[in-house]
Structure formats: structure tokens, C-alpha cells
């Protein structure tokens, strides 16, 4: 069953086209990694799927229903979101930020109750930041802030999570925790994950774990490659899109499982890449 289907979507900012004819499906229990150069339109595409921006053409179908036909509450129960950058405002406590994820489940004019707080604390634990619970979130480090926003999305308990570079400020351990948490959610709870990332190894990680993961490579204003990580993240395709030389290795990971990963080795030349 497809949780997200995008059909020939196109979008422009003030007349400048960002992408056109985007098509993909994300099935239940699947992971789609959105991958592509800076400024290729990943965030913009996610904004379109979230309803924050509206595609010029094409349609977006969430769980079998046209996006525009959902109420705001309904859609928030379907999709949780981790933004690329979060602009901090008032010095709220961390737990109060995280419990905001419960909003779509509250009756219109009520505040979160005890159960919501328990779910929020659980989310904090999943993100590995229980100790930050009562801190003011405006006084956290960059990575800590990102984990708070991640925990908020986890508390939203939605069948789809859209994440925009969720690991950009995370340390080695938290990055791995994030990947494991996501993998766990997909395996156990059958969640669907749409994640934009700059690290192809995230896609390999999921593939190495045997999860149904696909990679959509955005470039030249469209999705130019789409397929399994093994198919898309290849040395040639990387060279074509990013104009750099890479190497894909296969090694033995934990418990002697096979694991694949890619490493950059140098720029092919300093000319322009696929982006404009």
C-alpha cells in the first residue's frame, strides 16, 4: 500500500522552476532516501508533500487520499516532520517542545495530559536525551536542539515521518541511534520514512539491515535515478551527479554481516556539477 504518491509534481519560486515531473511512491513500511546536491530542491519537495507549499502541477496522494482533502489534524496524524533547520523562539523547556508533537491528538481546545507527557518522555528516551528534559531549549547545543526536534516528531506517533537532514548536527553515536531507531520503527511498527540526506551511507545502512529502502536521486530539476541503494549509489552515478570520484567498499560489519559503504576520494574537476 502506498503511503505517499507523488504524481508529475512541479514547483517554481517566483517563476523560477525548481523541479518538474516528479513521480514516486513510498509504500507502507518502506524507506525512501532523497538524495541530491545542495539546492536541488529536496526541502522544497518535502514542503510540497507537507502542504506548506503547493505544487504548480501534479498531485500528491497520502495514504490513498488527495493531500488537499485531509483536514489539518488528519494530515498531522499521518505525517510527522523534522525540519532541516529550526528557528528557536521563546525559551521553552525541552519537554514542552517535545509534547507539542501530541497536538494532532488533542481535542481542539485542550492541552496535553498525563499520557501525552508519558509519550513525550518516551520520545526523549528514544532520541537519547532524557537528561535534557527540563532544560531551556534555547540554551542547548546544535546537536541537542536537533535531537529535541526529532523527539517531537517521534512523539507525534504518525505512520509517516518526513525528515529533512535529520542527522546533520548529530554525533557519531546519535547518528547511529537515529538510524537504528528509524530502522526499528520501520521493522516493528511498519512506519514509512521519507528522509532527505547528504550521506549515502544512511541508505546503505538500511540496505545492510535488509529493510525495503530506495534512493531517489534529485538533480537537473527532476529525479534522475531511482532504485535500491546498490543501484543508485554507484561510482559512475556519483560522478555523473556530483562530479566527484568515490569508492564503494564492502566489508564485514557487526556479527560478520556484509556491509557496504561509499567514500569520496577526490573531485573529478573543479567545474560545475549537475546543479546550476
Amino acid at each position: 500500500m502506498n503511503m505517499i504518491s507523488v504524481r508529475s509534481a512541479s514547483f517554481s519560486y517566483d517563476g523560477v522552476n525548481v523541479f518538474h515531473d516528479i513521480n514516486f511512491d513510498l509504500e507502507q513500511g518502506g524507506i525512501l532516501c532523497l538524495f541530491g546536491p545542495n539546492g536541488c530542491g529536496k526541502t522544497t519537495l518535502l514542503d510540497n508533500i507537507l502542504g506548506h507549499l503547493e505544487p504548480e502541477e501534479g498531485s500528491i496522494i497520502i495514504d490513498g487520499k488527495e493531500l488537499g482533502r485531509y483536514s489539518h489534524r488528519e494530515i498531522a496524524r499521518k505525517i510527522a516532520y523534522v525540519p532541516q533547520v529550526h528557528e528557536r523562539t521563546f525559551p521553552y523547556r525541552v519537554i514542552d517542545i517535545v509534547v507539542m508533537g501530541r497536538t494532532p491528538y488533542l481535542s481542539p481546545y485542550s492541552s496535553p495530559g498525563r499520557e501525552d507527557y508519558m509519550i513525550a518522555e518516551n520520545a526523549l528516551e528514544m532520541a537519547g536525551i532524557t537528561q535534557l528534559k527540563d532544560r531551556l531549549y534555547t540554551r542547548l547545543s546544535g546537536g541537542e536542539t536537533q535531537l529535541v526536534i526529532l523527539a517531537r516528531a517521534l512523539a507525534q506517533n504518525a505512520p509517516i515521518i518526513i525528515m529533512d537532514e535529520p542527522a546533520s548536527h548529530l554525533d557519531f553515536r546519535h547518528e547511529l541511534l537515529l538510524l537504528e531507531t528509524v530502522a526499528g520503527l520501520v521493522e516493528k511498527n511498519n512506519l514509512s520514512i521519507l528522509v532527505s540526506t547528504h550521506s549515502p551511507n544512511h541508505a546503505f545502512y538500511f540496505e545492510n539491515r535488509g529493510l525495503p529502502v530506495r534512493v531517489a536521486m534529485m538533480a537537473e530539476r527532476r529525479i534522475i535515478f531511482m532504485g535500491t541503494p546498490g543501484d543508485v549509489i554507484t561510482e559512475e552515478k556519483m560522478k555523473r551527479v556530483f562530479n566527484i570520484n568515490t569508492k564503494v567498499f564492502t566489508g564485514n560489519g557487526a556479527e560478520n554481516s556484509k556491509m557496504k559503504f561509499i567514500v569520496p576520494v577526490g573531485a573529478a574537476n573543479r567545474g560545475d556539477s549537475g546543479e546550476e
Binding site: 514542503d47 507537507l50 502542504g51 506548506h52 483536514s71 489539518h72 489534524r73 494530515i75 498531522a76 496524524r77 505525517i79 510527522a80 516532520y81 525540519p83 529550526h86 528557528e87 523562539t89 521563546f90 525559551p91 521553552y92 523547556r93 514542552d96 507539542m100 508533537g101 497536538t103 494532532p104 488533542l106 481546545y109 485542550s110 492541552s111 496535553p112 531551556l136 534555547t138 517531537r152 507525534q156
Partner: protein
């Protein structure tokens, strides 16, 4: 935790009542506590009223009640708009309601010289001003917050200018002093009638903001995130704006323009109770109510004359706020 919250809730409700009851004992007319006690009993038991009864029931209590309503409205509206606009410098009058109400009142003073019409015009023009700001804010859909605030600034300044125009052509002997006095804000016209008139919009507005207080938290995360957490941001933003407008217009139309409360009381609330609007909104409500009643009591007893409220709020509240800031080292910012 639960217990502490009940205590807090009780304290927040109790404090304004205590201030109101206290007000019954304060004033220029010398009444002993016993007389005041009699006055209260007399009225309740239907004995024919004497001066004391009148003073307590017709002067002191209505005034304190109105003061608490006005203070609560301005403070809560300010807190809510700060959250909505993610800008701690926003105050209850941001979207033009005070300027609009001032213009409406001046117009009514010049045209009718009738208290009820002053209330009505102040209220209606306050709402009109916000509606205009909102329309300007919608000019450019993708940046509504800054556009709304700029819209409010423009509309405020246009109404202020129109108000100046009325002041300028008003009869300097008859109308100008009334307008100036109205603009300075006063609770001296408090009566059960004015309480009744303002209570309808004030209660709708305050109740709405109490109900929306969680959503204001979420709205303060910014449009994109608030939306992803299930808010209908345009609707919810409009509801918050309507509620603050009703509360502020309802208050301002009977009390005149009382500055300061709608900006600084929310900040006192932030310093005392933190930024979570679930707590901040009720705390601001209670704080605003107590503050204005106390200030008005001071104004009533310091001299036999009437000192306009805006004067005392700033002169007494200002240094207190600086003290709070200093004590909390900036209070979380």
C-alpha cells in the same frame, strides 16, 4: 506536581478576588472596616442604602471589577500576540486596536458626547483597525507574520493620525480635554453597566485565549512546523487575533487607552512563570488583573483628583520591571 498545580491555580484565581475585596476598604471617603462590613451586609440583605453602601457597592467594587477585567484583557492579549508573532516586543495594541479605539472614541466625543456611543465607537473602530491590518497582512501570503505586523503598524499610525486630526479640529474648550483625558485611560466611569457592556467581548476573548493557549505554543514554532503538528494555521491565527481583539477592544472601549500593561505584564509573567503559554496566559491574566486594581487603588487614594492610569502603571510598574529583570538576570532570554 499535580498538587502544586492546584495550589497555583487557586492562587491565580484568588489573587484578583483578594485585590477586589481589598479595594472595598480603600478610598478617600473615610469608612471604618465595620461600616464597610455593614455596607456589604446591608446591600445583601436589602436594607435601604446609605452613603457607605453606595460607596462600596456603586463606586469601589464596580471600579475594582472593571479594573481587573481590563488588566486581565490587556495582559493576556499581549502575551498571546507575542507568542503568535514570535516577537517579544509585540503588545496588545500591535494590530491597531488601541489606535482604532482611540479614534472611534474621539469621533464619538465630537459627534455625540454620549458615553454609550463612545463605548460603541471605540469598540467598533478597534475591531475595524485590526480587520484592516489583517487585510494588509494578507497582501503577501508567504510572509504573513511580518506583513501582519507591518500592517498593524501602518493602520495604527493612520488611525493615530486621524485621531490627531480630530483633536486638531475639536473644540479646544469642550472636546479636546475630554479626548485627551479619555486617551489617558481611567476607570472613573466604571459602573455595572459599563462592566456589563465590556464583559461580553472580554469574556469571549479571554475564554477563547484560555482555550487557545496550547495552540499559541505550537503557533510560536513558526508556520511550517505548526502546520506539520496539525494546526490550521490560518484559522488558528485568525482565532487568536479575533480573541485578542475582542478582549482588548472590550477593555479599551470602557477604560480608554492604558499603555504598558499589554507589553510589560506578559514579560513579568515570563520572568515569573516561564514562557509556556499554558501557564503564562493564566498567570498574565491574574497578574494583569491584580496589577491594574492595585494601581487604580493607589490612584484613587493618593490625591482627591484622578490620576490617569497610564501614568501610574508606568511610573510604578517600570521600576518594578527593571528590578525583576535585574533579579532574574534577564529572565531566560
Amino acid at each position: 506536581m499535580k498538587f502544586k498545580r492546584i495550589i497555583l491555580a487557586l492562587a491565580l484565581v484568588f489573587a484578583p478576588f483578594a485585590c477586589i475585596v481589598l479595594s472595598a476598604f480603600l478610598g478617600r471617603y473615610p469608612l471604618s472596616p465595620v461600616e464597610i462590613f455593614h455596607a456589604i451586609v446591608n446591600r445583601l440583605s436589602g436594607v435601604a442604602p446609605d452613603v457607605g453602601t453606595n460607596i462600596v457597592w456603586e463606586i469601589r467594587l464596580p471600579r475594582a471589577i472593571l479594573g481587573s477585567m481590563v488588566g486581565a484583557s490587556l495582559a493576556v492579549s499581549g502575551a498571546a500576540l507575542q507568542g503568535l508573532f514570535r516577537n517579544p516586543l509585540v503588545s496588545s495594541g500591535m494590530l491597531g486596536v488601541s489606535a482604532g479605539a482611540g479614534f472611534g472614541a474621539a469621533l464619538a466625543i465630537v459627534l455625540f458626547h454620549n458615553t454609550f456611543m463612545i463605548y460603541l465607537f471605540a469598540f467598533l473602530f478597534g475591531i475595524l483597525a485590526v480587520a484592516l491590518s489583517y487585510m494588509i497582512g494578507r497582501i503577501y501570503d508567504t510572509a504573513p507574520v511580518i506583513m501582519l505586523v507591518l500592517g498593524g503598524v501602518i493602520v495604527s499610525s493612520i488611525f493615530s493620525a486621524l485621531l490627531s486630526l480630530i483633536k486638531y479640529i475639536a473644540d479646544p474648550y469642550v472636546e479636546l480635554p475630554s479626548i485627551v483625558f479619555w486617551l489617558m485611560g481611567s476607570l472613573s466611569s466604571a459602573s455595572y453597566k459599563s462592566i456589563l457592556i465590556s464583559s461580553i467581548p472580554v469574556f469571549i476573548g479571554l475564554a477563547g485565549l484560555m482555550l487557545m493557549r496550547w495552540r499559541i505554543n505550537v503557533l510560536s514554532m513558526g508556520d511550517r512546523e505548526a502546520r506539520s503538528m496539525g494546526l490550521n494555521i490560518n484559522l488558528d491565527r485568525a482565532v487568536v487575533i479575533i480573541c485578542t481583539t475582542l478582549a482588548t477592544a472590550g477593555a479599551v472601549c470602557v477604560s480608554g487607552i492604558i499603555g504598558w500593561v499589554g507589553l510589560v505584564i506578559p514579560h513579568m509573567g515570563r520572568i515569573i512563570a516561564g514562557n509556556d503559554n499554558r501557564i503564562l496566559i493564566p498567570v498574565s491574566m491574574s497578574l494583569g488583573a491584580c496589577f491594574l486594581v492595585i494601581i487604580d487603588n493607589l490612584g484613587r487614594i493618593i490625591t482627591g483628583g484622578e490620576i490617569p492610569l497610564s501614568i501610574l502603571t508606568a511610573i510604578i510598574g517600570g521600576p518594578f520591571f527593571v528590578y525583576l529583570l535585574k533579579k532574574t538576570k534577564g529572565g531566560g532570554w
